[in-house]
């Protein structure tokens, strides 16, 4: 099966230049991006299952019998498809996020919020045959972007997806519904279209009660790529 990849339609994406986000003006190329043909090299990509050790499906525990991290337990689920709606099986999903106090496990995080020793902060998993994924975590906290002097990031989870090729490699951040900081976030508001904005926000899926008590959230992802129409002579 061969796939075609159209360039991203800018209307479905965030703006490249964002006011009050200075690095967008220092790192975005001045020259127009160069159109090119897509050869085998761009249409292939690594087989994720060969590359990675797939980590915990539960970021809220450092091991199966360890205590839960502090905060609201959440269950995240979703499905990864291409533009035809066909599932991407075996796609690797890398997740990372702040803990419930808004602190990342990273040497670049200078926010003076506490680290939670029970929270992994990151995980890798793989989509099943239907493109579905799910994991448990703790609802991330908000945190200040210290160098900005004013900007607080709303709660969000980072996703990095390795799909079927170099062309559908995908990285994003997904936000939580109803958060007051969503209204002022520079990134979430770098979209002109209401529908695009909604694609950056989890849908609340209700609560579960029983062995695990968690709030459920869902986000489906559509990666670039369509089945190529056979050429007719």
């Amino acid at each position: 099966m061969s796939f075609s990849y159209d360039p991203y339609d800018d209307r479905t994406q965030l703006a490249r230049y964002i006011d009050r986000y200075p690095l967008s003006f220092k790192r975005t190329p001045l020259e127009p991006l160069v159109p090119r043909p897509l050869t085998l090299s761009e249409r292939t990509g690594p087989v994720a299952a060969d590359l990675f050790t797939l980590g915990p499906m539960d970021l809220s525990k450092t091991s199966a019998d360890a205590p839960r991290a502090t905060g609201q337990l959440i269950q995240i689920s979703g499905r990864v498809t291409d533009e035809d709606g066909s599932p991407l099986a075996g796609a690797a999903i890398e997740i990372w996020q702040a803990n419930s106090a808004g602190k990342y496990i990273h040497d670049a995080d200078r926010h003076n919020a506490p680290v939670d020793p029970n929270f992994t902060g990151e995980g890798r998993l793989m989509t099943d045959a239907e493109g579905n994924f799910q994991f448990f975590s703790i609802k991330p906290g908000a945190y200040p972007v210290l160098e900005s002097g004013w900007w607080w990031r709303p709660p969000h989870i980072h996703f990095s997806i390795l799909g079927r090729s170099w062309m559908d490699r995908f990285v994003t951040q997904i936000f939580f519904p109803g958060e007051p900081l969503n209204e002022t976030d520079l990134l979430l508001n770098a979209v002109s279209d209401r529908d695009v904005r909604e694609r950056l926000i989890f849908q609340f899926e209700g609560t579960s009660m029983g062995e695990v008590n968690a709030m459920g959230f869902r986000r489906d992802f559509v990666l670039r790529g369509r089945r190529q129409t056979p050429e007719v002579d």
């Binding site: 965030l14 790192r27 950056l200």
Partner: protein
């Protein structure tokens, strides 16, 4: 269906997602065939200022021009890798000189993910002794001769290639429409 919106990778991509992926020459207990090299360089923003904590990903064929996801590929070569720039903007990847195949000149695909970039930037680094005589369907899309030469890695010493990525401004690296 409408494609999902990209968003910036931000400053906090976990170190554990990078560790071990900057050496493509050792893979699943094997060692890659071909000429082992270090590909390194700086990733600079406007004004030649280094970008720290930038993520670079690479995808290239093996020494025979075969991609790791295709039949007959070198089992000791990863094909894909990832590195992070240090405080001076340097990245460093151990790989092999990619083989040519079909109409493609030896090359590696590169991707940049960084704060300030809402989407990834993609380009291709080429390996050739004489850049001006190299022919390649992707390279040939860059019409300006000076810009075109910026897509070639410079051989510095035996086994060492240098390739800087200048995101914006003077000597800007050509990036491809994505």
């Amino acid at each position: 269906m409408i494609v999902s919106p990209y968003c910036t990778i931000g400053p906090f991509f976990p170190a554990s997602f990078v560790e071990g992926h900057d050496d493509l020459t050792r893979y699943r207990g094997g060692t890659a065939r071909g000429q082992h090299i270090v590909l390194s360089g700086r990733i600079l923003q406007e004004g030649g200022v280094p970008t720290r904590n930038t993520i670079l990903e690479i995808w290239q064929p093996d020494a025979n021009g075969i991609f790791s996801s295709c039949a007959g590929a070198d089992p000791g070569f990863a094909g894909w890798g990832r590195a992070r720039t240090d405080a001076d903007g340097w990245y460093r990847i151990r790989t092999i000189v990619p083989g040519s195949y079909g109409d493609r000149c030896p090359h590696a695909n590169l991707m940049i993910l960084a704060i300030g970039l809402t989407r990834r930037l993609v380009t291709t680094v080429f390996f050739a002794d004489d850049p001006d005589s190299a022919r390649d369907p992707v390279l040939d899309c860059v019409k300006d001769a000076t810009a075109r030469r910026r897509l070639f890695a410079a051989r510095e010493n035996a086994g060492e290639y240098r390739f800087d990525l200048i995101l914006r401004g003077e000597n800007e690296t050509p990036f491809f429409l994505d």
